[in-house]
Symmetry: none
Subunit: 437 residues, 2 copies
């Protein structure tokens, strides 16, 4: 596959050095005015003394970032890919591949498999979904074990379900050669609707072409397989509770992404609690560190591994979760919690932090999208961004890290795909561009 | 034809809803300092109390837009295409097709025809053009009738002239199959010059390729046809006044543009007085409403059709016309005239307007290019832009809608192709982007 031209450029210019870069992604960071809280956003409302001090640093500048494009609401995959410098309009990663990627590390899935996200669900006798999450069941692993025992293959093609969290899991189809993941969801995405039949999608036709016969046939085979699996699973789970059905979405193969360390000449580590973010990091070839279960453990892992890497992606999930819950004060609290840990994240100790001394050469703090608690979903709005580096021009007058003040930040508005280049440049990890040779 | 990737993305994400979007294009809106008027631009000089109130609205933000690209002077076609989200560097619409498109609606022209813009002109006995507009003749239709009667075809290929306004018209060549529009103008574009011979252009050679033999031959055939037509027309019109000649430019075929309503999941209407703007709207598949002869009639049509559509493109021609006339005060007056109608355009009544209540969910006011009256032509300068939506973060401190204040607007600088995505996002007409599939 051809490399996207901007990534190719950076890839040709990157060079290794000792500089350390820290990219902190506060999931769903951006907010929106909330009428019940004085028309303020969560960042405006929160008490964030450490972030204030960070953005007030002479060598810190701020701005706003559009992780994918202006107006586009980033899903977690495209949002992170954009921030990692992989243009999400060029590099396509299916939802299934994102969810499943974390299992590549442990060898449970191979890079050639077709994967999909699944939910255990509750259905009535007419296949009508009455609960898409089967009561957020806690023993998904048992149900998975049962299905894997009873339905190990469909017409000679090996299949497997892997339970991840609650009702969620990853469906794996081996033997990709004769199959094709371009099929529709069986998940109706609403309760009261029947489980759908999977059908082949002609991607070529969607974009105005005529399509490839063999691909269409392969997608048809895949759809058939999925429909047979669904029927068999309904049979196996018939008398079970709370899950007596299974629904699929996001059928995909694993993309062959350019590898982060090679492209950027770094040795990158990723720290996150959730499989999805670990998966994205895994797909671009970062080393995924540890098994933290909360953000404080993440910070500990970061500090323990400080010497071993020169690029760190640190992911903090809570602002997004509270935003999706429409919990304004919860999101405020999550931000204040982060703020309180900031000196431990970016400085050796509190004293050094207070003196404006950081242990990374380049530090970026931003989000993969906005999740305003006033709205409760991902939105298209730009996301606040702050970058520290001793190599920064400065001139920034931002006093507080929020959506309003960042509109006046000297970075202006940038796209997600521009971020990595800026970070590398500030880490002096890029050579002069004399032309493509 | 493949879709431009950004448009394809929006196309896959768009979803219909009840939200109504109004896009007002003030043709040639942007201005430049005028030394004779205190160094002010027309927008700065004008008294625009309603526009002021509009941009001061808490949920209105401003910025600057480059309809095509920074530094590029937009023609009307590319300028509008850009604002409609069709990258003018990807989607090419010939001048002839733009002028002729409005006749597609009435079936006078078919989508397979080759078309060109023509002028009736005055020539001397040596084919030297003495007046490119034949004294802006008023009875063009009579001349067209005569030509169509005397020259219905050339070597078996049907041809036709359609008089539009004054000396202007559209030339139509049927039977496109063996023909190709890549030929040079016969219009010398200056008086005192001879009518030119049409010649084939090798587009492929222009861009460094080798070219396609059959296309070159087809263009040669087309050029021959046009040259024969020119000679015959000169013969037919020999003793006529004021027009005794005809000159052509902008030979083109109709592009197969993705259709606006399908791409954006809207039901779009266009309201304009001039054929060119109706034509562009027609080409992208908007419903062109009524036959307004002035802007007040346009506003009436807008209000009458409020219920029937959820996207409106409202075009106001006068700022451009006065700008091209180098009439500073005329352009100021045109802007003040618009300002005075604003409450009738965007609110139910004056009272609602004064209360900051608008009857559209998203309102954008901008231009397709700048036409500073100090210069008298289209220029490359960015164009002021204001967007209202309840979904806006706000934080904008713009007090007056003009070139200077918009430089500080929180939208920053955007490209024309970004506008539609922003409008749809604010109308909540886009789904989250999880990847292409």
């Amino acid at each position: 596959m051809k490399m996207e031209r901007g990534l190719e450029l950076v890839s040709r210019l990157s060079r290794p050095n000792e500089a350390k870069i820290l990219l902190i992604i506060l999931d769903g960071l951006g907010g929106l005015y909330h009428p019940e809280f004085g028309g303020k956003t969560e960042l405006q409302y929160a008490n964030l003394p450490h972030l204030d001090r960070f953005v007030q640093h002479k060598r810190t500048v701020t701005g706003l970032i559009y992780p994918v494009r202006r107006g586009i609401i980033p899903g977690s995959g495209p949002g992170h890919l954009g921030l990692f410098g992989y243009d999400p309009l060029f590099y396509n990663v299916g939802r299934g591949a994102l969810e499943a990627a974390v299992f590549l590390k442990h060898g449970e899935i191979s890079g050639d498999d077709i994967v999909a996200r699944f939910n255990f669900c509750t259905v009535d006798e007419n296949r009508i979904v009455t609960d898409r999450r089967a009561g957020r069941l806690t023993n998904g692993a048992e149900f998975a074990l049962l299905l894997n025992k009873e339905i190990p293959e469909i017409k000679g093609t090996k299949v497997k379900v892997i339970s991840t969290k609650e009702h969620r899991g990853v469906f794996v189809i081996k033997n990709r050669v004769k199959l094709n993941p371009n099929i529709t969801y069986t998940d109706p995405e609403e309760v009261g609707e029947k489980i759908l039949e999977a059908k082949p999608i002609s991607i070529a036709k969607l974009v105005g072409g005529t399509g490839d016969e063999s691909e269409s046939r392969a997608a048809e085979q895949t759809a058939k397989l999925v429909n047979i699996y669904t029927s068999k699973a309904l049979e196996v789970l018939k008398n079970r509770k709370p899950a007596n059905g299974i629904i699929f979405r996001g059928f995909s193969t694993f993309p062959n992404l350019p590898q982060f360390n090679t492209v950027y000449s770094v040795n990158a580590a990723a720290i996150a609690t959730h499989p999805l973010y670990k998966g994205i990091a895994q797909l671009v070839g970062m080393t995924v560190l540890g098994e933290p279960t909360n953000f404080e453990e993440e910070v500990k892992i970061l500090n323990e591994n400080y010497d071993g890497f020169d690029f760190f992606f640190l992911h903090y999930k809570d602002p997004d979760s509270r935003g999706e819950d429409k919990d304004f004060l919860g999101k405020v609290k999550a931000l204040e919690y982060f703020d309180n840990l900031l000196s431990r994240i970016i400085s050796k100790d509190k004293k050094e932090f207070d003196a404006g001394k950081f242990k990374f050469d380049v530090i970026a703090i931003t989000g993969d999208h906005s999740t305003p608690s006033y709205i409760g979903t991902h939105t298209h709005h730009s996301v606040p961004l702050a970058i520290y580096s001793d190599f920064m021009k400065g001139f920034d007058t931002t006093e507080h890290f929020d959506e309003a003040e960042c509109t006046r930040g000297i970075l202006g508005r940038i796209l997600g795909v521009e971020l990595m280049t800026i970070l590398l440049a500030n880490g002096k990890k890029l050579r002069k561009f004399e032309g493509f040779v």
